[in-house]
Symmetry: C2
Subunit: 311 residues, 2 copies
């Protein structure tokens, strides 16, 4: 039996929040406030208040929108506009230390695009919240597993073709640290066609322009911010400029759960690259927790079906 | 850095609740109400209400005491006095199906007592909430791992001696299903000295007299109930009869986290057999999550030190 009963999408195309998400919101708020102070009384006050707030929230909203509200409140309460700044910096540095070796691996691979896609998903699998205390041997093992794990090769071929045909590719980044691995994939795409979007302002450990700068992305491709502090891509909270670029992209690469939760039913050609991290998403995608996902949006799936039918 | 900051014991000897416990309480309440109804609106109502209640609770209480209050409320709200009845029954049946094979394994072992102790801890490691969907091969693998994992052999020898010297042994059971594995260990103890205690009334998946009967314990040893619905052993909530037996026992074997949380500083000779399941307990015991624990109470540890000093 599914762990999550009654899973349904919202009519406006985004995932609603499930009651299963509540413990995670509370844990995340605690994690965030711990980055701002060691004072246990403050931790307790924040968790108590977040439970009170979360208990009254409209669950018709998508999880990232609830996350936005909770983390805005934590930032206000703590007076720290970017609780994860040091964490993000550390993860960028850790990932940058691996970059030369991984780039060599991509360039020497039989299929550099496939290797780069796998590493970009691997980076979403490696939980950078755990990474700091992860042994180097264990980290390399995780990367090796992702490089050899089962993978949707047919989707990769379609993706390769879509990249060639596309004129305007939009790459939606997810977290700091992970963005170094995104760079490896971005280097395999035609630079002149690619724009990368990061968050408009700090939210959890999501990459902002500071992180894009730190890992040298702007020297390769155009980087924009989406004007929003939702941990995903909720178009109505994004800037007009971002929305214009989103609407005019003919291929979108979206990293991580937050982008999936906010764009899963968007009427656009999107490849979602993510790790399945929780039972709600696992149910939605009919996959297991921990699985690598190279998932196409409905628009792309429908196109594939019609091709098959015409054969 | 420790995940749990400011970890301290209460002056009266039991562990206090940490803010990290809150997400778990909410998840447990959701799990409990899901066993009573498929109605998602009821699940949501319960979680919202539990967040409100938990947000106001006195965290100076031990986690099992907060668990007692939350699960009492869930039982009242759902009108079901034993939400886990079917689950407990299923896990007893699953474990009983393994019993003949495991008993053979104990009896054929070089050291039956060690094998039985390992299996009793293994049963606390095997999460019976996951067991139902666990492949038989995977289950056997978990048992094999516990049989060969690192283990405190010195503590086992002391335990063997303590069993021989003891006149009144009290075995505090933990969960249904697991109680079948406890039976394997109890069979290695001198039956005339042993009393087994189960919970006085239903609380989560903890074993009650119904479960002791289902797995045939009363035919081997005296089984009593502790008169309480705390998921642990909080003496002030137990019956006078149980407290008398507890006070007069000269060796106590306590299974699982709940008993550790409520008895960690009790002034009694206790062997705690448990799996480390959460960061709060991991910090308290200075161990890793998932580790097998064969842990002595302070009374026993102090005795060991004085013996060593006298050598």
């Amino acid at each position: 039996m599914s762990m999550v009963t009654g899973l349904k999408k919202l009519k406006n195309g985004i995932m609603r929040t499930y009651i299963d998400c509540m413990p995670c919101f509370i844990r995340q708020a605690l994690e965030a406030v711990r980055h701002t102070t060691d004072d246990a009384a403050v931790h307790e006050a924040v968790v108590r208040r977040v439970m009170e707030l979360a208990g009254k929230m409209d669950m018709g909203q998508s999880p990232p929108l609830i996350g936005q509200q909770i983390h805005r409140w934590v930032r206000d309460f703590s007076g720290q506009p970017d609780p994860y700044r040091k964490v993000k910096q550390r993860f960028n540095e850790l990932a940058l230390a691996l970059y030369p070796e991984l780039r060599e691996r991509v360039n020497c691979a039989d299929d550099p695009l496939e290797t780069a896609v796998r590493l970009a998903i691997a980076a979403n699998i490696i939980d950078f919240g755990v990474f700091g205390s992860m042994e180097p041997a264990k980290l390399h093992q995780t990367i090796d597993e992702c490089l050899s794990a089962n993978f949707d090769v047919a989707a990769l071929e379609e993706f390769r073709q879509a990249v060639q045909l596309a004129e305007r590719i939009l790459y939606l980044a997810d977290n700091a640290g992970e963005i170094v691995f995104d760079r490896l994939l971005i280097e395999q795409l035609p630079a002149e066609k690619v724009r990368v979007a990061v968050k408009g302002s700090p939210i959890i450990n999501d990459a902002t322009m500071t992180d894009a700068d730190a890992v040298g992305l702007p020297s390769l491709v155009e980087v924009i911010d989406n004007g929003s502090d939702v941990p995903g891509t909720l178009l109505k909270s994004c800037s007009e400029h971002f929305r214009y670029i989103f609407e005019n992209a003919d291929l979108i690469i979206a990293k991580g759960q937050g982008n999936y939760e906010t764009l899963s039913d968007a009427d656009k050609p999107i490849y979602f690259l993510l790790q399945v991290k929780c039972p709600v998403i696992a149910d939605h995608l009919e996959r297991d927790i921990g699985q690598m996902m190279f998932h196409k949006s409905d628009v792309l799936t429908d196109k594939q079906f019609s091709v098959t039918e015409n054969l």
